[in-house]
């Protein structure tokens, strides 16, 4: 059963997710069935046709042979009877000589069809109307007939000269088929085996091909999905910077007006005694500051600035960022393990961007973990001038339906309100600018792993910036 399972394409069980999630609109199970049916049909058809033709041919030859042997026997009987002095005895001798029951059922019948000797197929001596007399059209011949038990037989007949009696020799038709079948038994065995082999290989091929199509299809729609996601983020970035610009102006007005109110209060005695009014105005100013932090970060997200590119030692950057977060890690008893087996050469990159990337990823991991959590950072050298940076934690993880959203600005599950939801979107922008990529794998309740791929040679990095 397990072997059979192998023949079943993997796409079979995958149908649901393939058609729902990736929206391919392609029923792989049906395609597979169609291919298997069609190829099997085309491959087996000639086999069957050949067998049938051969069967027909042999059948006819055997039939002819049987017929000729029947008529030879009958002729011989008639000839010897007509030359015999005692025809009755000769006939009886003949009957006892040839009659062997099933294979050669020879008997004598009168023209009414009444049996004069015992027949294997038609009954005992004296049975009236045992043989249909319409059979005897001529003096001699061979016809197909049905016995009283409805068995198909080949019946040869010959009129005994100078009498109204007939010699009848009946052979069962089943015997004929057996005659064809028996020598071909082995051949038919080979045929069956080869049919099974052909079917298996067709199924295997179909499984393989459909599997390939399926995986190619999946890759394609994943790529499409990815591209769509990227386009969306890019347009969100443009929108965000536009919004930030527009909001900065009214914010500046609020800022100045409130500042003026503050100035007036502090300069005029009757107001300056009112501490509440001043603190209210201060609150407004603080809020303006908060808003401007957000707009500033939004602009960072969409910024198109020339990064100051210099050769950087990436572990140095990691160390700096970790030094910055050391206190919190200590306080929360978070262990940080570092995998620095690979030596990473210094490469051209904007140090500030790298710092931002690490800071945000590690901060997020800290937020996701309980006290006493485990954070690991590894940087690996990959082929083709790339490094992959992995920051993984054993925190609460991200639900599947949220994974696409986390790189969008303002998506946050944090409850506090300080500029939340921009961290990942900013570093996404930075990584794209550098010419890298960021992916995330996560399991709810188990932890998350962010992987950043960066090019070691900063080839097309500055393409995005004029």
């Amino acid at each position: 059963m397990k072997q059979l399972q192998k023949l079943k394409p993997a796409s079979w069980d995958h149908r649901d997710s393939a058609s729902n999630h990736l929206n391919t609109g392609f029923n792989f199970a049906r395609k597979w069935k169609l291919i298997v049916l069609f190829t099997s049909f085309m491959a087996l058809l000639p086999l069957f046709v050949m067998s049938l033709v051969e069967f027909g041919l042999t059948h006819r030859t055997i039939e002819d042979e049987v017929k000729s042997s029947i008529s030879k026997l009958l002729n011989a009987a008639i000839v010897s009877i007509s030359f015999s002095k005692d025809p009755g005895k000769t006939a009886m001798d003949y009957i006892t000589l040839i009659n062997s029951g099933e294979d050669n059922d020879i008997f004598v019948v009168n023209e009414d069809g009444t049996l004069l000797t015992t027949s294997f197929y038609y009954g005992n001596t004296g049975t009236p109307n045992a043989v249909n007399t319409s059979l005897f059209k001529e003096k001699a011949g061979i016809e197909k007939d049905l016995t009283p038990d409805k068995k198909p037989v080949m019946a040869g007949y010959a009129r005994i000269p100078d009498s109204s009696l007939f010699f009848v020799l009946a052979k069962s038709e089943k015997g004929l088929i057996d005659l064809w079948f028996k020598p071909r038994f082995k051949l038919i065995g080979y045929l069956a085996v080869s049919i099974v082999l052909i079917l298996l290989s067709i199924m295997g091929m179909a499984t393989y091909l459909v599997g390939r199509i399926h995986s190619a299809d999946r890759k394609r729609s994943e790529a499409l999905h990815h591209a769509e996601h990227e386009k969306k983020l890019a347009s969100i970035g443009r929108l965000a910077s536009g919004v930030a610009h527009e909001i900065n102006n009214p914010l500046a007005i609020i800022n100045q007006k409130t500042g003026l109110i503050m100035d007036l209060f502090t300069l005029r005695e009757d107001f300056s005694s009112d501490k509440r009014l001043i603190s209210l105005a201060k609150d407004v100013l603080d809020t303006v500051k908060r808003c401007s932090t957000i707009t500033q970060r939004l602009l960072d997200f969409a910024r198109h600035m020339e990064p100051s590119i210099e050769p950087v030692d990436i572990w140095e950057v990691v160390k700096q960022v970790l030094a910055f977060l050391e206190k919190e890690a200590d306080r929360r008893r978070i262990t940080i393990s570092i995998d620095n087996k690979d030596t990473i050469p210094n490469f051209e990159c904007d140090k500030g961007s790298l710092q931002q990337i690490f800071l945000n990823l590690i901060e997020n991991a800290f937020t996701a973990m309980e006290d006493g959590g485990q954070l690991s950072i590894s940087i690996r050298l990959k082929k083709r001038d790339q490094i992959s940076i992995m920051v993984s934690d054993n925190g609460r993880g991200i639900a599947d339906e949220d994974i696409d959203k986390i790189f969008e600005p303002f998506y946050s599950s944090k409850n506090d309100h300080w500029g939340s939801g921009l961290g990942l979107s900013i570093i996404y922008g930075l990584i794209k600018e550098i010419g890298g990529d960021i992916t995330v794998k996560s399991r709810l309740g188990k932890g998350s792993c962010f992987t950043v791929i960066l090019p070691l040679k900063n080839s097309e990095a500055s393409d995005g910036t004029k």
């Binding site: 900065n248 609020i254 198109h304």
Partner: protein, 162 residues
């Protein structure tokens, strides 16, 4: 007492002076001697009227003399009439934009110190402005104390040159 009064009138009816503002660098405490540390002729250029008027008023409260215009052309005209010591200009304006204005000002009167103030905080713009000779580049919404500091520094620079 006189100073207080002046502040009050200005605070309550600031719009009364609007028409004249483009003509003269106003100062609230006219009666007193000019503060030696702050510029007495500041030209503010910004199409955001509410913003620039309030800012000018607050600067005046800090003993500076200010004038306000709302676009690049009137700024150039104002410079012809009476050359300011320091200019505060916005980058995005209808007509001549801030960058262009900065270029022209620096070509015709390089003595004028220009502070660029904008809601568009891209590093590229900043670099461009600094290359064009701006004194400093500030992101809106700006803290008045920071701006005052910057103005004082600009003034010091002018005095040092003279």
């Amino acid at each position: 007492m006189q100073k207080q009064n002046a502040i009050l009138t200005a605070a309550i009816k600031p719009s009364k002076n609007d028409a004249m503002e483009t003509q003269v660098y106003h100062q609230l405490n006219m009666s007193e001697k000019c503060n030696v540390e702050v510029p007495s002729k500041i030209l503010l250029v910004d199409d955001e009227k509410e913003f620039v008027q309030t800012l000018s008023e607050r600067l005046r409260m800090r003993d500076m003399g200010t004038a306000v215009v709302y676009d690049g052309n009137s700024a150039l005209a104002q410079i012809q009439r009476d050359e300011p010591e320091v200019m505060i200009i916005d980058l995005k304006m209808p007509g001549i934009d801030g960058m262009e204005l900065l270029k022209q000002v620096k070509q015709t009167c390089p003595r004028i110190q220009v502070i660029v103030m904008t809601g568009h905080g891209s590093e590229q713009d900043k670099k461009k402005c600094m290359d064009l000779g701006a004194f400093s580049y500030m992101q809106k919404p700006v803290d008045i104390n920071l701006l005052s500091e910057s103005l004082k520094k600009a003034y010091k620079k002018i005095k040092a040159v003279e």
